[in-house]
């Protein structure tokens, strides 16, 4: 099965501005031997047909192969995060999975997902819908640890009702070819949306984050904050667009990407972008790229700390802000103690 040969499937074009610099040509043309739906190990969940028209073509891949969508409804506060572990084992296989998480009115809930694999030349296309109802508070953390010679496409469509809060934190640890695609259209008032990511890459990993946020109503906040630490010949793309339309008065829209390049061959393409149609708002965007601060490195070494350990300490300090942003202490503990070998 080749994605480019699937009838009726409109895939993003290489030249499309939204996906510029994103490496999906190999994925689209690769001939996978099998396609499979990855079944979640939870009994009794409702399954519906996914009829939604999404903001871009990447969502259609999973839908085309299997249009069924599992629905996880959270009706009351949950004291501990729901934890979903995905392990891809079969080689030469294209997996799909689609899950809608509904967080009901006034409910506080959190979910962690871990994506790992032991496969070779496989791909995993994942669709997520987060429907967060009025005054609900949803925190989501994702660990992506898909290794080389595998592809991972993660599409998230977020729908927030008024006064809701959605905080998403991504930890991109894998060495495969990874595309994260986030769409949030903030149609209601007083929504709080925070999207954080730590891209910690090495070897020849290739990780793209394509983020589209649209403000269509008053008083909402979007805060997108990514940190990349790139070693070896790893590549990353950060492409974020936040649109503030004319009815979205008093919006707060922020985008930030910080990158540390730890080798001459590592590279980042970072493009934060704002499209603003009103004056009554607060907005900022920025991207920095550099190496570790040599003055800080010298200071640590001048107190007897070896060069290697000084590097490690400063890198951890750089990454720390993403960990610190996590609100749920149980999610924090989970991320802190995460080790790939425990899940593969």
């Amino acid at each position: 099965m080749r994605l480019i040969e699937l009838e009726g499937l409109e895939l993003p074009k290489k030249r499309s501005e939204e996906f510029i610099k994103v490496n999906f040509e190999d994925l689209f043309s690769y001939d996978f031997k099998n396609t499979k739906t990855y079944e979640l190990d939870i009994m009794g969940l409702k399954v519906v047909k996914d009829e939604k028209n999404y903001g871009n073509g990447l969502f259609n891949i999973s839908k085309k192969i299997d249009s069924n969508q599992v629905v996880l409804t959270i009706n009351s506060n949950i004291p501990e995060p729901i934890c979903l572990i995905h392990k891809i084992k079969d080689d030469e296989t294209f997996f799909v999975n689609s899950l809608k998480i509904e967080v009901k009115e006034n409910v506080k809930a959190s979910v962690i997902e871990v994506f790992t694999n032991t496969s070779t030349n496989s791909a995993y296309s994942v669709n997520r819908n987060f429907d967060i109802e009025e005054n609900a508070n949803f925190e989501y953390a994702k660990i992506q640890d898909i290794n080389e010679k595998n592809y991972f496409v993660f599409n998230a469509d977020i729908n927030q009702k008024k006064d809701s809060k959605c905080k998403i934190t991504n930890f991109e640890y894998g060495t495969g070819v990874v595309i994260n695609n986030y769409i949030n259209t903030l149609d209601e008032k007083n929504c709080d949306y925070e999207l954080n990511g730590l891209v910690k890459s090495f070897d020849a990993s290739n990780t793209a984050n394509v983020i589209r946020t649209t403000h269509n109503n008053e008083n909402s906040i979007s805060n997108i904050n990514y940190k990349h630490s790139l070693k070896d010949s790893s590549r990353a793309v950060f492409k974020a667009i936040s649109i503030v339309n004319d009815k979205a008065l008093y919006t707060k829209a922020f985008q930030n990407s910080n990158t540390i390049l730890l080798s001459n061959d590592a590279a980042i393409y970072a493009q934060p972008h704002l499209e603003i149609l009103i004056d009554e708002l607060e907005a900022s965007h920025g991207a920095t790229t550099g190496t570790l601060d040599k003055e800080q490195l010298l200071y640590l070494q001048s107190r007897g700390i070896s060069k290697e350990l000084s590097y490690e300490i400063l890198l951890k300090a750089f990454e720390k802000k993403i960990y610190d942003n996590i609100e749920d202490t149980l999610i924090k503990e989970f991320i802190d103690s995460y080790k790939r070998q425990s899940y593969v």
Partner: protein, 251 residues
């Protein structure tokens, strides 16, 4: 302990030290004075292997070892401590964690066991209480948001806990009030056990009043041009550089 011979150092391809000689023996206190740009900071930076300094000639022997062959961290673990003029802020690195790591790196270098958390806390409590240093600084991130005075106090805490053999103070008195200068002097004087040596850079007599140097060197245009005892600092304070026959070559 330290022997600098005919040291020549460039910064950005400009020769700053032009054949400097200096000999510091165990237990001696040396003060380095000179006009701005004379090369005082370049000397201490070179001794601690600052990346700006390119040694183009001469030699530095420390404890009978070739210092120029040693890495930055090894120099520190061999007992060289430089108090920075303006210590860099390191957000995200907890000050206490940093200090404990530094102590343990030094211990590992000397083949000693790591300090455990309880002993570390005890040591901090003892040393900070002795000199009325605010140990709350250790709960914050390393130098982040510290005032000028807090940064200098933090350098003193590090100095006390790392217990070096050669203490280099690069204008530690700049920007400090009278009481803070007294604290600096108390810490340094208490550490002088006849074996530790001090090399301090200062523009002012006040610190020298409190830490009496055995030798005062005047540095001009990359060389030590005059050496004397504490009376040279007093003379300098009274007459100025021109008054003691030093012509500013930097302009």
């Amino acid at each position: 302990m330290l022997e600098v011979k005919d040291l020549k150092v460039n910064i950005n391809d400009k020769e700053i030290l032009k054949g400097l000689n200096l000999n510091i023996k165990e237990g001696e206190v040396h003060a380095l004075m000179g006009v701005n740009g004379a090369g005082k900071s370049t000397l201490v930076k070179t001794l601690s292997a600052h990346y700006d300094c390119v040694v183009t000639g001469g030699s530095i022997t420390y404890k009978k070892k070739d210092l120029l062959e040693m890495e930055v961290a090894d120099r520190a673990n061999e007992g060289i401590f430089m108090s920075f003029q303006n210590p860099v802020e390191v957000p995200g690195v907890n000050n206490s964690y940093f200090l404990k790591t530094a102590i343990n790196e030094k211990r590992a270098y000397a083949g000693e066991e790591e300090i455990d958390a309880m002993d570390f806390l005890k040591l901090i409590k003892e040393q900070t209480a002795k000199y009325d240093l605010d140990k709350k600084l250790l709960q914050r991130d390393l130098n982040e948001g510290f005032s000028g005075g807090e940064k200098k106090r933090n350098e003193l805490i590090q100095l006390l806990l790392l217990n070096p053999d050669l203490i280099m103070l690069d204008e530690i008195d700049s920007g400090l009030d009278v009481d803070a200068i007294k604290t600096v002097a108390n810490v340094i004087n208490s550490m002088l056990d006849g074996k530790k040596s001090v090399l301090m850079i200062t523009h002012y007599d006040r610190l020298l009043e409190l830490i009496k140097p055995d030798y005062v060197h005047i540095l001009n245009d990359g060389k030590i041009v005059k050496t004397g005892d504490y009376s040279l600092a007093l003379e300098l304070d009274e007459k100025g550089y021109e008054g003691i026959g030093i012509k500013d070559e930097t302009n």
